[in-house]
Symmetry: C2
Subunit: 219 residues, 2 copies
DNA sequence: CCCTTCTCTAGAATATTATTCTAGAATAGA
DNA sequence: TCTATTCTAGAATAATATTCTAGAGAAGGG
């Protein structure tokens, strides 16, 4: 799988023999990565359907044959990109949550992560928003379900004890998620339209306030 | 334009001569409407890119020539559908707001409308969510901007006085919108995945609570 | 009622673009 | 070194969006 490509530590393998080896060497970007990078750029700038395989071939400098060998279809490329991006977002979210101190810090910090991730990964964020699960190929859809399932488990582990402690309202998980991240997500959508970059970060405190006000135990 | 096709009152013109006229007559569904209906069904079931013009032709029983005469391209069909659906949603929202009694009723009622509209227009709702503005043709994009602009004006007219009266927090409009509808929107997204229909309506009270808690004046 | 003009319908012809296929190069393992 | 497997390559094919040409239907004017 390709899902965690970006998480690969820089130290993995010393210096694999490359035909034209040279000094000052940086990790060999596999063909697949080049394709994904090219596809992201193209999907983002002209949209999925307007981006042709030929465009992707030219930009990535990877042949048609290789592209199809690895991804199977155009949808396959989009699917891999989707899984890759979603994973990156989710890993960060869980990390923030686990590292947070108090409950309020956790709630606010998670919103902050959302905002920062979107600001720092605008193209990926746009892509994730536009291409929701349903148009994904079967394989990728399974990957996405796995990722989401995993995330929900982690969220729940963090959440339950705090409900028990009377710090947070008791809510079904999907509703919890919607109230927590919905506003940030909706604002992100707005901010990502148009090419000028109105930073989301400015709105972070307000969004965090709103989340906290809606989630803290009413008592 | 086709944007308000669905709003055409039933009484417009008595009984236009139809070649094979018959009793018990219902308004003549124009070719364009048939195309939009077919496209909605197909886009929803197999996705935009997998739905072919040929499929649309077969299901709508309108010829290729007519389809292209009216919509110009496949994207054009999607665009018209988008504008049409967005308009339907927005008109309802504004109506609810204007008819609401107090401020709290307004805030809650708008959330209610969102939830009910999604429940009652699942396919359209899914389509709107998947196909955000950026992949729209230029013409349609302008229409969408008009619609959104109009909505924001109406929202603002309702909102300003209530901020002045100290009933609602003061927020920039995009942020207001995000906090107000973000959670409902995010939950809708979740509820519309998978084909089984978990009604959104059940969550309405909770969503309304959350919106009200986040928007009412902190004082 | 006939002529003219404009819009709409139709489907065959064309162009674009995703996908498949065949063959050879690189790589890994024995 | 030999063998098997994976990867690369681009030409050939197939699917599908779009254009084109011709005619049918409605609208208006005399």
């Amino acid at each position: 799988m390709d899902g965690k490509a970006n998480a690969r530590p820089a130290s993995v393998s010393g210096a694999p023999k490359v035909s034209g080896g040279r000094a000052n060497w940086s990790p060999p970007p596999k063909q697949g990565d080049k394709v994904l990078a090219a596809a992201l750029k193209l999907f983002d700038s002209v949209g999925y359907s307007a981006a042709t395989i030929e465009d992707i071939r030219l930009r990535s400098e990877v042949s048609i044959g290789s592209i199809y060998h690895r991804f199977g279809s155009k949808e396959g490329i989009a699917g891999a990109l989707y899984v890759d991006s979603l994973g990156s977002y989710q890993r960060g979210l869980v990390r923030v949550l686990l590292e947070s101190d108090g409950t309020e810090q956790g709630v606010r910090g998670a919103v902050g992560h959302h905002v920062r991730w979107v600001d720092g990964n605008r193209a990926r964020a746009r892509f994730l928003m536009r291409r929701r699960e349903t148009e994904l190929a079967q394989v990728n859809r399974r990957d996405v379900e796995l990722l989401n399932g995993e995330l929900f488990i982690q969220l729940e582990e963090w959440y339950r004890p705090r409900v028990a402690a009377g710090e947070l309202r008791e809510l079904p998980l999907p509703l919890l998620y919607a109230i927590w991240f919905g506003p940030a997500q909706e604002l992100a959508r707005y901010a990502l339209e148009g090419s000028k970059p109105p930073r989301l970060a400015d709105a972070e405190p307000t969004l965090a306030d709103a989340a906290w006000a809606a989630l803290r135990s009413a008592g």
